[in-house]
Symmetry: C2
Subunit: 447 residues, 2 copies
């Protein structure tokens, strides 16, 4: 077991920039020092460009000195999941089919980050096409374990201080699960909240989101992007204050067990139940499905969220998997080939039926919004599993993806000393409210 | 004025393949002969690959002989708008920023066409980024005139028999307007009906569609694509029979004047009113807004469709225009630079307000569906304008884009002998019904 990495403080790393108590260059140099310490054993990056990052950090440092920052996250060292186009760095998609591929232009989220002054330090490892095949990154809390996926590199890098924030994407559990496994804060926005242009995962449940060393940074990054490039076309995009929404005490929370409940490890369950008890002691009503029909309906509508999500994704992968297979099927992992074969066995009619079931589940979830302020759960059945062959079971986080909901992972639980996330799910297009509640919960549990 | 091109018959060019009366190779050779005749003066293509096309046509010819065609459009010679990725041909986006850009993989629509056996003969000219800046293509009916845009090359090539069909995209009027100007059949699907993956125009009103030499080919191409790669993720995709839906006599049609009515050229108006009169004589009720409140509400809700569409598009172009400008602003046309500046002056809040107005207009249109079977109008104020500086006014076709409706352009009207389209608009996700009605209308007017 590797030494436990130093946890970064639960405050925004940019919070000292305005006063001059801290500077982008200083924070960047800390990240680079962490990279020297951790990257050889963790392998979170596909590209690191310290020189460009130092230049960008110095420029940001000057802007803060001149009282002219470009945004609240100006100068924050960040990484970009290697599914997302960058004009100045290879974008490899976790696949040999994209070896050496350098896009001509930034993706929307990267354009937004650059316009906000963020310092792009590198590209972070993704599983193959942000799906299931891992690409070797290790968990900094225990390098014998997976960091989770598919946003493996962003979560691992943030988890050991190599980055203050990273971009991720989630269609099943690819932000909240690895954030929980690596002790980072994860934000999976509502469907449509952040413009996915130039990120090659145009699946109907997919979102671009953030993984960061504090709740404030996870929010600040996402909000800065949406302010500049909006949400997916047709959506207003993430709205709310430009810095972390103030904490809001919830009146009622729903405890979503999901289909994963029987798989929950004993120590993880103990940790979660202690947190729930603490919230109850703080006066929050935490309701269970036995006591609430709307919640019971959501549990019922999401019991099959994982197999339905896998089937929806399979159909939506007909393209580009068909084109990838036409070019070189041997360059696809066995799991990608299997998904391609599965997609070929499906029909438009089956897919339409799945969309209808998903819409019904979302309607059930919308009804729950009238009864509770948010939903809580865990991000996984326990600590990150040993081994690098899989990224772990997404069973606790797939309902949030299926429902299109906003979700946050708070690194406040543990499984025998290894990190586990408390999942806070909100309601679609009400992402700021989730942060307000998550901020209150964090303080209630840790403060 | 150039000689009037030979109109292709109003039947599918693949209709003789099954019997052996015709063959893909024979049809392709006719297209290549037309290219030799017309392309020097029309300039519809950015890439032509006759050798690859002949190989593909020969393979298709064999499949038909063996009674094993891949689809109803197996062997059809088609072109691909140069906004849409092709793995074997440069994809130039009508911009020097994409000079020499060769994607590694096909777009979804191209993958679908290839899997269906279509013969990809070349890439067709698009205006810059499928927006307003023309790229030199001329109208085959009069080479002093624009072919319309942005799907300029596909419409011009089909209009003079260089292709049996071409892919287009429409966010304002880029399929129906050029189809009308060039005497081709155009199909703008409902929003979401055809998978746009790999076509760089992810705007909320944008669709991939078809321009073809017959209604059957326009439908067959689109349906073959959707069967194989579906619609946009989250949409079931175009459904219905694999070949042209049988004609369906409408009971009631709405005559949508649009904000363009005062601009309608006298001869175009005479041609349209004669068509309306003929439909009335055939027993179809054609209702006007004075006589129908639901239609009046749609007219009112779409009066500003054009400025609202331009504002929606401007915001949605923040990316990638911001990245293009960051790379080389001088490579953008003045109109693209103007759109970029306009986008920078907008806010998320303004955009959200526009989305709400559009949603209200779509609700008004949905109410009209209870009262009429379809909507008719013209595709433009008259014949294609003289000159190549603009692609003409989209005022008659922008309401269909704004409403997200399915639309067909039938080449059955004229303005002093030059082609003009009769626009038939249906209701979202009911594309097959529009073809059934358009087919009946075509026969009623020409048969």
């Amino acid at each position: 077991m590797s030494p436990t990495p130093t946890r970064r403080p639960y405050i925004s790393r940019t919070s000292g920039f305005a006063s001059g108590a801290d500077s982008p260059r200083q924070v960047l140099d800390e990240c680079i020092a962490a990279i020297e310490q951790w990257e050889p054993s963790v392998g979170a990056f596909t590209v690191i460009d310290t020189q460009a990052a130092r230049d960008a950090a110095d420029a940001a440092t000057k802007r803060w000195r001149n009282n002219a920052p470009l945004s609240a996250i100006d100068g924050m060292p960040v990484g970009v999941k290697d599914m997302i186009d960058t004009a100045d760095m290879v974008t490899g998609m976790g696949s040999p089919l994209y070896d050496g591929y350098t896009p001509r232009f930034d993706a929307a989220s990267v354009q937004g980050l650059r316009e906000a002054g963020a310092v792009i330090l590198g590209k972070t490892v993704t599983t193959e096409f942000a799906s299931s095949q891992p690409r070797g990154t290790r968990n900094p809390w225990d390098t014998a374990r997976t960091p989770g996926g598919s946003s493996s590199g962003s979560a691992a890098a943030v988890g050991c201080g190599m980055l203050c924030g990273g971009l991720g994407t989630q269609v099943v559990g690819s932000i909240l699960r690895p954030s929980g496994f690596c002790g980072a804060y994860g934000f999976k926005p509502s469907v449509g909240s952040i413009n996915r242009g130039g990120s090659l995962d145009y699946l109907s449940q997919s979102v671009t989101g953030t993984i960061a060393a504090s709740l404030a940074d996870a929010w600040g990054m996402a909000r800065a992007i949406a302010e500049r490039v909006g949400g997916d076309p047709g959506y207003p995009g993430l709205t709310g204050p430009l810095t972390l929404p103030p904490p809001q005490r919830p009146v009622r929370l729903a405890l979503l067990r999901t289909a994963g409940w029987p798989t929950l490890a004993p120590a993880a369950r103990t940790s979660f139940e202690a947190a729930v008890e603490r919230l109850r002691q703080a006066g929050v009503a935490v309701v269970s499905p036995e006591a609430n029909d709307a919640l019971a309906a959501v549990e019922a509508a999401t019991t099959e969220a994982q197999p339905m999500t896998m089937a929806i994704n399979a159909w939506e992968w007909r393209w580009p998997l068909g084109s990838y297979a036409a070019r070189d099927v041997s360059a696809l992992s066995p799991s990608a080939r299997e998904r391609h074969e599965r997609s070929l066995a499906m029909t438009q009619g089956e897919y339409a039926g799945l969309l209808a079931k998903r819409a019904a589940a979302r309607a059930a979830y919308a009804a729950l919004a009238a009864e509770v302020d948010a939903v809580i759960s865990v991000t996984a059945s326990g600590a990150a599993p040993l081994g690098l062959e899989t990224t772990g079971n997404p069973i606790f986080v797939v309902p949030g993806s299926f429902l299109g909901a906003a979700g946050v992972s708070l690194p406040v639980l543990n499984d025998n000393g290894l990190p586990l996330g408390l999942q806070v799910l909100g309601f679609p297009q009400a992402d700021a409210a989730v942060f307000a509640i998550a901020g209150w919960i964090e303080t209630a549990l840790l403060g």
